[in-house]
Amino acid sequence: MKARTGSAAPGARRGAAAPPPQPKFFALIPPNPGIDFVRLAPRMALLSTLIIVVGLVSVWTRGLNYGIDFTGGTVIEVRFAGPTSIADVRSALDHPELRSVSVQDVVGGRGNEFQVRAQQREDEASSVADVIKTALKERFGEGTFDILRVETVGPKVGRDLWRNATFAVIAATVMMGIYIAIRFDLPVGVGAAAKLLHDVLFTLGAISLAGMEFDLSTVAALLTVVGFSVNDNVIISDRIRESRKKNRRESLATLVNLSINETLSRTVINSGTVVLTTTALFVLGGPVIHSFAFALLVGFLIGTYSSIFVSTPIVLALEERRTKTTRR
């Protein structure tokens, strides 16, 4: 501990004699880049609305690629020892006892890995998995493949899940809004909740467009995004509150602009480190958490953007309306 800090300290100690009036720091973003965020906001709002609409249209038309958590059914992942074509696997599973079978390559897998999905019959929970295993054994022979995982979810479980998931995400969003409203004030809370809704819808659209699987862990990712993305709002709002105390004469728009600019560096770096680790998960984490990492990545990126361009304009508009009505 001593050695490490020691390497940093001597340089510091030398400068102690005459502290420079304006110390230089290594920074990607200058302390005040002077970007007029408030003026940019309407255009950006239009852009995000457009993207969200495209995403939601995709959710509406193409739908979400639901995992068996939601649909019920069976998923089996197999890894073949030798090269095997997906067509062979498909034909092996052309079996009278199997309903709506789909075979696809495992995304991010090692090759020769296939994911087989089939619908569940209402009566028995395990039969589909057994039928698939037997069919594969008959076609390719025992020991030529390795069953990586089997998941079976009864239709009953999936039924309430949509409702619970929607409820959880909405509850989280509202709770964040309430918390922020308590810590700051109502407009800030409303701005935060609106921004979180924006993030969730955007991420949903991206998941649909990318054809990523939507399962329980995706919902967990959305909840994480909701809990984390509100941080940037906290930081910016904190700064706005502070600047308002210091300069009571400036217009709110100017102060908001100043606060966003002053905190831009930390906003970007804060999200940057999280995006860095999430990217590592997405690229290296393997097929099991691929869709989870995707949702996190999109959500974190868009969350940073929206705390600047979505929530702050809303707060500004609400605040200005409030001051107008109180003056009247």
Binding site: R13, L148, E151, G154, L223, T224, N231, I269, I289
Partner: protein, 519 residues
């Protein structure tokens, strides 16, 4: 608290964490004070996860059905003839042979089943002579007890099955989670766990009122079963049960004496032996159906009274089947049927892959953050990096200490925690930079950096914690694994990113007397 004490506290925490974490990574010597490694989830070590739903309503129905049979017996013993005693939902309806004995019957039953049943008066013309419903308190009592009873029964069955470190947990109101590490082909385990194992002995119906398979007579029921020569057939059996599997005290697999294959010998307790003896004495020459979960296993003729309190169930079992049947008979029937709702099996190779990929993404992700912080914030970054190492150490330590299970989503949560933990430090460091730009001294800048950043740090961690709690409420299995890591990670982050770094700065300022900080 002075810097010295805080340093000591921090050092104590580090030592404790190292002690509990060590067995996870290397084989610790015998004298090491902590031996338990971090538990790996089934998705990492391979195994089977089963989620069952207990059919609680069915358990209540079964209970009322048993009461109905008891009522029948009570009335018979009291020489009050009953035409029919039937369960209708949660009530027992009694039609008497002689209506004049209604008040006598009512007095008897109300006394005998006080606190269990309550009489329902009805003026409807087709109402039964007596209608007695299960009281609400009993319903609640059964409902509360069923899941626990089922857990006990399953635990005993699995213990005999021989799985290393199985986990059984009640979840929600009526669900049971069974985790079987190392089990790749769960079919046999599922058969063992899911079987209700309700054993019943009833007589095969005889006489003029038996009816046919299509139209069974009163008091007669059609049940599927195994035919004498093998194959399936339908049996007409009396609804009245002579005895149930409750009376079985021991069961062992045996070579069958009358058929091919294995059989299971059972022994009865004293009460059961007497019931069985009486019934077989009264019914010599008739056929006795041995029914397991509504399926007639065999229906041998009673050649002579069986008073020895033991018998045999045949059914052309193979050895494993006989072994498992003996197991479930010994450990008793489930209080209610279970339905399998979810089954997840992970093979060992995928588990290995997941560990490898999880570790890789953790190492790469952390290294990137680590390097970034050191380059961008120099000295302050290095202090952050030390705190980050402590954070991971404490987080894994908390898992070892708390007996928490590390899953793949948990590892993802760990990776994410690394990315989020430095946020607190970034807030502090950026604030320190601002203060230094205003020309403040190192000491003042540190002071102001922590003071000003604290409320934002607290807010952001509270919001994340709240969403973690919602996740814990909402999610099952994998989602919970992630949520738990995130929640614990928030706590360790507050300890390391705020407390530990502050101690290091204070130590540098007071003991090492540095006058400027590098950030």
């Amino acid at each position: 608290m002075s810097v010295g004490y805080r340093l000591l506290l921090l050092a104590g925490l580090v030592v404790a964490a190292v002690v509990v974490v060590t067995p996870t990574f290397i084989a610790a010597p015998k004298w090491w004070p902590w031996q338990q490694p971090v538990r790996l989830g089934l998705d990492l070590q391979g195994g089977t996860h089963l989620l069952y739903q207990v059919q609680i309503e069915q358990a209540i129905d079964n209970h009322v059905e048993r009461i109905a049979r008891e009522i029948e017996r009570e009335l018979r013993d009291a020489k009050i003839g009953a035409a029919t005693v039937e369960r209708v939902d949660r009530s027992v309806h009694v039609k008497l042979a002689n209506r004049d004995k209604r008040s006598e019957a009512r007095r008897l039953l109300e006394e005998r089943f006080a606190n269990v049943l309550e009489t329902r008066e009805s003026a409807a013309p087709d109402a039964p002579d007596l209608s007695m419903a299960l009281v609400e308190r009993e319903v609640v009592r059964i409902r509360d007890g069923v899941v626990d009873q089922a857990l006990n029964v399953i635990r005993n069955r699995i213990d005999e099955f021989g799985v290393v470190e199985p986990t059984l947990q009640a979840q929600g109101e009526d669900q049971i989670v069974v985790q079987l590490p190392g089990i790749q082909d769960p079919q046999r385990a599922k058969d063992l766990i899911g079987r209700t194992a309700q054993l019943e002995f009833r007589l095969i119906a005889e006489g003029p009122n038996v009816g046919t398979v299509q139209a069974p007579g009163p008091g007669v029921q059609v049940l599927p079963g195994l035919a004498d020569g093998g194959g399936r057939t339908q049996y007409l059996v009396e609804k009245r049960t002579i005895m149930t599997g409750d009376a079985v005290t021991n069961a062992t697999p045996m070579q069958s004496t009358s058929m091919d294959g294995m059989a299971v010998n059972f022994e009865l307790d004293g009460r059961g032996a007497k019931l069985f003896g009486d019934a077989t004495t009264q019914n010599v020459g008739r056929r006795l159906a041995i029914i397991l979960d509504g399926y007639v296993q065999s229906a041998p003729q009673i050649r002579e009274p069986i008073t020895g309190g033991s018998g045999q169930i045949t059914g052309r079992f193979n050895f494993k089947e006989a072994q498992d049947l003996a197991n479930v008979l010994r450990n008793g029937a489930l209080p209610a049927p279970l339905t399998l709702q979810e089954e997840r099996t992970v093979g060992p190779s995928l588990g290995q892959d997941s560990i490898r990929m999880g570790t890789t993404s953790f190492v790469v992700g952390s290294a990137l953050v680590w390097l970034f912080m050191a380059i961008y914030y120099r000295g302050g970054g290095v202090i952050t990096d030390i705190a980050l190492l402590l954070n991971v150490l404490f987080l894994v330590g908390a898992f070892a200490l708390g007996g928490l299970t590390l899953t793949l989503p948990g590892i993802a949560g760990l990776v994410l925690t690394v990315g989020m933990a430095v946020d607190a430090n970034i807030l502090i460091l950026e604030r320190m930079r601002e203060e230094l730009r205003l020309g403040k001294t190192a000491r003042a800048a540190i002071e102001a950096g922590y003071d000003r950043a604290w409320s934002a740090i607290l807010d952001s961690n509270v919001t994340l914690f709240l969403s973690g709690l919602i996740m814990l409420q909402f999610g099952t299995g994998p989602v919970r694994g992630f949520a738990v890591t995130m929640l614990v990670g928030i706590l360790t982050t507050l300890v390391t990113a705020v407390f530990a770094t502050r101690v290091m700065y204070d130590w540098l300022v007071t003991s090492r007397r540095i006058a400027t900080v590098s950030v």
